[in-house]
C-alpha cells in the first residue's frame, strides 16, 4: 500500500507541476526578467524606488493613463511609497478636483485632498480613446495584474522599443515593440534618458525609470503585498507548529489501537 501511494503521488505531483507551468506562464520565457525586490516569500518594495516611480508616473504617464482606484492618501500608507503627511497633502493639493453641485446647483473645482481618488486625465473612456488616436491608454490601477508576466512584462515593454526590423511597415502612430503581443503598440516610447529629473538625484536612465515606474505600478496593483507576505510567513509557521502538535497527538491516540493493519 505504501509503495502505491508514494509512486502514484509523485507521478501526480509531477504532472501537476508540468501542467501548471505552461498553462500559467504564457509567453514569460520571452520577457526580460529582473530580480525584483518584491518577488519571493519575503519580497518587499524598495521605498526610494516607489517614490521615484511615482514621480515618473506623475510626470510622464498620468497625462494619458488614469489610476482611478487609487487615492492620494494611499501614497502615505504603510507598505507603499510612504510619503509624509505633508507631502501627501501637497501632492493632492497640486491637482484641481471637480466637486459639487454647490448651493446654486453649479459644479466647481477645488484643490485635491488626500481622501480624493487620483484625478483622471480624461473625463471618460471615450474622451481618452478620441484623444489618443483611437487607442485606449489603459487605467494603471491593476495593470500589472492584468498582463501575463506582470512586472516583467511592463518593464519589457518599456524597454522594448527597438529599431523596427527591416521589411516591417508601420502605420502612422503605430510603433514597433519587441515584447508587445503582435509587436505593434500605439504608444510612442514614453521614456528617454533624462526625461524626468529625479528629486533624489538618481540618474534618470530609461532602464532606471522603467524599473522605478514598474515597481510603483506593482505597488499600485498590490498595495497589500508586504503585509500579505509578512502574514503569510506567520500563518505558515503557525500551521506547521500546530501540525507538529496534532501529529504527535494523533500518534498518541492511535497507539491505543493494535498496529496490525
Amino acid at each position: 500500500m505504501k509503495k502505491f501511494n508514494l509512486k502514484k503521488l509523485t507521478f501526480l505531483v509531477f504532472i501537476m507541476i508540468v501542467f501548471i507551468n505552461p498553462l500559467y506562464s504564457a509567453e514569460s520565457s520571452d520577457l526580460l526578467k529582473i530580480k525584483w525586490s518584491f518577488k519571493g516569500l519575503t519580497g518587499k518594495f524598495d521605498r526610494a524606488s516607489l517614490q521615484r516611480g511615482f514621480q515618473v508616473y506623475k510626470e510622464v504617464c498620468s497625462s494619458c493613463h488614469s489610476m482611478q482606484y487609487l487615492s492620494y492618501r494611499n501614497l502615505g500608507e504603510a507598505g507603499g511609497p510612504e510619503f509624509s503627511t505633508e507631502e501627501v497633502k501637497a501632492i493632492a493639493a497640486s491637482v484641481e478636483i471637480e466637486d459639487g453641485p454647490d448651493s446654486q446647483g453649479e459644479m466647481f473645482t477645488r484643490p485635491g485632498r488626500p481622501s480624493d481618488k487620483f484625478k483622471s486625465p480624461y473625463p471618460n473612456v471615450n474622451a481618452s480613446i478620441a484623444a489618443n488616436g483611437g487607442a485606449y491608454p489603459p487605467d494603471m490601477s491593476v495593470l500589472v495584474k492584468a498582463r501575463p508576466g506582470g512586472a516583467d512584462y511592463i518593464y519589457s515593454v518599456l524597454m522594448g522599443y527597438n529599431e523596427t526590423p527591416a521589411g516591417m511597415s508601420l502605420d502612422d502612430g503605430v510603433y514597433y515593440n519587441k515584447y508587445m503581443v503582435g509587436n505593434k503598440i500605439k504608444m510612442a516610447a514614453p521614456l528617454s534618458d533624462g526625461i524626468v529629473e529625479y528629486t533624489d538625484g538618481s540618474e534618470p536612465t530609461v532602464d532606471q525609470m522603467a524599473k522605478d515606474v514598474t515597481t510603483f505600478l506593482t505597488w499600485a496593483a498590490e498595495p497589500e503585498l508586504e503585509e500579505r507576505h509578512k502574514m503569510g510567513i506567520k500563518v505558515i509557521i503557525y500551521l506547521i507548529l500546530l501540525s507538529i502538535l496534532v501529529y504527535f497527538s494523533m500518534k498518541k491516540i492511535w497507539s491505543r489501537v493494535d498496529p496490525k493493519v
Binding site: 492618501r73 503557525y238 500546530l242 497527538s249 498518541k252
Partner: protein, 173 residues
C-alpha cells in the same frame, strides 16, 4: 509519580497544548472577519473634514456634511452671544453655559451637529421661539447656543470635536 501517571500527564499536556494552540489560531481567524465590518479606510479618510469659514458674515451660518451628518457652523454677532449668555441655567432642560459650547477666544463660532437630539431630524435655522433653531418633526426649540429650551428633545445639540487650523479654516473630527 508512577510511570503510568507520568505518561498520562504528558499525553494530557500534548492534547491541552494542541487545543490551546488551535484556539489561538481560531481567534486569529475570527478577528479579520469581525474587523472587516468596522469603518474601512475610505470611511476613515473622510472622518475629518476641513471647512473654509472666511466667507461667513456675522449672524450667518452654513451647513456642511461630516460623516454623513449635517454640521451647523454659525458666526454669531456680539448681541447674539450676549443674549445666549444671559440665560439662567435653571431655564435650561439640559443646563450648559454658552462658554462651554465654544472655543476660547472664538466665541463667535458655534459648531454643532445639526441633528435634533430627540429623534434625529435636522432642525431649521432662524426659526423657533428662541431665535435659534426649530425642529419641525416634533416641535423642539433651540436657542442661540444650540441648547434645547422647549419641546421633547432631551439634550442640547452635540458639539463635535473640532479645531481651528487657522483663522479661516476649521477642521471637524
Amino acid at each position: 509519580m508512577s510511570k503510568e501517571e507520568k505518561k498520562v500527564n504528558r499525553r494530557d499536556f500534548l492534547f491541552t497544548a494542541s487545543y490551546t494552540v488551535g484556539a489561538v489560531g481560531l481567534g486569529a481567524v475570527v478577528w479579520p472577519l469581525v474587523h472587516q465590518m468596522n469603518p474601512d479606510k475610505a470611511q476613515k479618510a473622510l472622518a475629518t473634514t476641513e471647512v473654509d469659514i472666511s466667507n461667513i458674515e456675522p449672524g450667518k451660518s452654513i451647513t456642511v456634511l461630516w460623516r454623513g451628518k449635517p454640521v451647523f457652523l454659525k458666526r454669531r454677532t456680539q448681541e447674539e452671544i450676549a443674549e445666549a449668555r444671559s440665560v439662567s441655567l435653571n431655564d435650561l432642560p439640559d443646563p450648559q453655559k454658552d462658554e462651554e459650547r465654544v472655543k476660547n477666544g472664538k466665541d463667535e463660532w458655534l459648531v454643532m451637529l445639526g441633528v435634533c437630539t430627540h429623534l434625529g431630524c435636522v432642525p431649521l435655522k432662524d426659526k423657533g421661539d428662541y431665535k435659534g433653531w426649530f425642529c419641525p418633526c416634533h416641535g423642539s426649540h433651540y436657542d442661540l447656543s444650540g441648547r434645547i429650551r422647549k419641546g421633547p428633545a432631551p439634550k442640547n445639540m452635540e458639539i463635535p470635536k473640532y479645531e481651528f487650523v487657522d483663522s479661516n479654516t476649521i477642521k471637524i473630527g
